[in-house]
Amino acid sequence: MTGMVEIDDVRKIYDGGFEALKGVTLTIEKGEILALLGPNGAGKTTLISTICGLVTPTGGHVRVGGHDVITDYRAARTMVGLVPQEINLEPFEKVINTVRYSRGLFGKPRDDARIEQILRRLSLWDKRNSAIRELSGGMKRRVLIAKALSHDPRVLFLDEPTAGVDVELRRDMWEIVEELRADGVTIILTTHYIEEAEAIADRIGVISGGQLLLVEEKDALMQRLGQKQLCIELQQSLSELPEALADFDLDLCDDGASLVYTYDTAAERTGIARLIAALTAEGLSVRDIQTRQKSLEDIFVDLVHNTGNKEDAA
């Protein structure tokens, strides 16, 4: 089965010699939501721009719906909608006109009913006759999405769609993304908000230094790399860790009132039972126990940090 978007060994070296993409290969299936995570300058926007026609790749191939984005650009681009990172809009134009214009640019005939549907879905219908400069930042971002959806794309690229928007609007956006997925739209989003990737993505790709470090199912990724922490609240505080517990990966917290045990959920033995036995043998009474899952943010920071260290060492 071929993917909706196929990226094959894509490289990009800018005129100044900066290598923004170092051979990225990735297949995105129809109807999935892929989140691309990465620090600033990782190559996220260059990758999206290459797929959408804004940047000419130095090497490699990209196909959308089986159409090469260079040799068969019309068919490929007709399927793609792009919501850019920056709020780039005609300040003096009316909302409805700018959305109609985008539909026209993609070669679709005027369809007022469809435009109304899109504007209503994005809560922009009441603002349809407002000049764009009169809108708030969040509303402008909705206009960008409306423009990208105006020609009914099958693949939607969202480049940092919720950067600088409030929590309520962010959650609205997530709902919109979920509705689009229900319609069978393939969605690729870049984000700095790991919470966002955690909340809506099916798969997560981590990109850093122009390389795709990994792409995995979100749940599998969290399970594979996920570590858990066991917080043990003691009846009596400890001034220092007893010798008998030195073998365990333990930290003393809350002025000695709690012990935090970090363990790997994927390991054959977690060591919890052995730890509890050791505590009992030491005569320590437990008041409460709770576990905490390592967040995607922790995983991401570890991954990018470790890669950076390896590159430094090399």
């Binding site: 800018y14 026609g53 804004l54 490929a76 007709t78 003096f92 006109n97 640019l105 993609f106 070669g107």
Partner: protein, 253 residues
């Protein structure tokens, strides 16, 4: 060919023009009237006739060319520079359109606006002088070719410009002097022989000469040379635009 996209760009650009229709209409009427007052009445009263044509009527083709050229350049350069400036260029690059279609939309709209201004000026001039058009078809052809070629040139300037100062640089420092020195307000034959030869290196001379011929049958240079000049200029502009879009110069990373 994505005709829907061409029409979308054309209509969008024309809508900008129609939003400021009063300004677009009044401004050329006032400036043309001022030229007639200054050149036609004040100076023209001291000049009897130029090759059998009253001075007021003689300057009409030059006046039309002056406005049409500057309007074509400014409309086309601003039209394509503005999306670059505000960042909406990404839409053209990500849409299923090729560069010829983008040019057709922008240059078509800029040429239409310039043509509108040209017709308004002709209408205004008719209020001041007895306007004769000896070769209407040739006049219309020259007008259309001028609108088109200088809109193409404006498009190139808009792509080249990195800021608003550069956008004004070529029209102010190159085009306007060439028009004023190109025989807009005088016949080249009125110059001393040496300057007549120098004037022949000014491409605008051929344009104004040909255009004036279509009105009064008077020309500084043979009409076919004028046609070749404007035709050649159009082809050069098209070639430059073809190269720009082929290489993505100042457009695509």
């Amino acid at each position: 060919m994505n005709w829907t996209a061409i029409a979308a760009i054309y209509k969008f650009e024309m809508a900008r023009f129609f939003r400021t229709l009063a300004q677009s209409f009044i401004s050329p009427v006032i400036s043309t009237s001022l030229y007639f007052v200054v050149f036609g009445a004040a100076i023209g009263s001291r000049i009897d006739q130029v090759e059998g044509v009253s001075y007021g009527a003689f300057i009409v083709p030059g006046l039309v060319m002056l406005s049409v050229i500057t309007q074509a350049i400014s409309n086309a350069s601003f039209g394509i520079y503005f999306p670059k400036f505000i960042g909406t260029m990404y839409e053209f690059l990500s849409a299923p359109i090729n560069f010829l279609e983008i040019v057709m939309g922008f240059v078509g709209a800029a040429a239409t606006k310039a043509l509108f201004i040209g017709i308004v000026i002709l209408g205004t001039a008719a209020l001041f002088v007895d306007l004769q058009i000896a070769h209407p078809l040739a006049m219309l052809s020259f007008l259309l070719l001028t609108c088109l070629s200088f809109s193409l040139m404006g498009f190139i300037i808009g792509i080249w410009a990195s800021n608003f100062e550069q956008l004004q640089l070529v029209p102010l420092l190159v085009v306007t002097p060439l028009i004023f020195l190109g025989g807009a307000f005088y016949s080249i034959s009125m110059l001393p022989p040496f300057w007549q030869t120098v004037a022949l290196f000014n491409p605008v001379v051929y344009l104004i000469s040909g255009f004036r011929w279509s009105f009064y049958g008077l020309a500084d240079v043979p009409i076919f040379v004028s046609l070749l000049a404007i035709g050649g200029f159009t082809v050069i502009c098209m070639g430059v635009i073809w190269w720009i879009f082929r290489t993505g110069w100042r457009i695509r990373a």
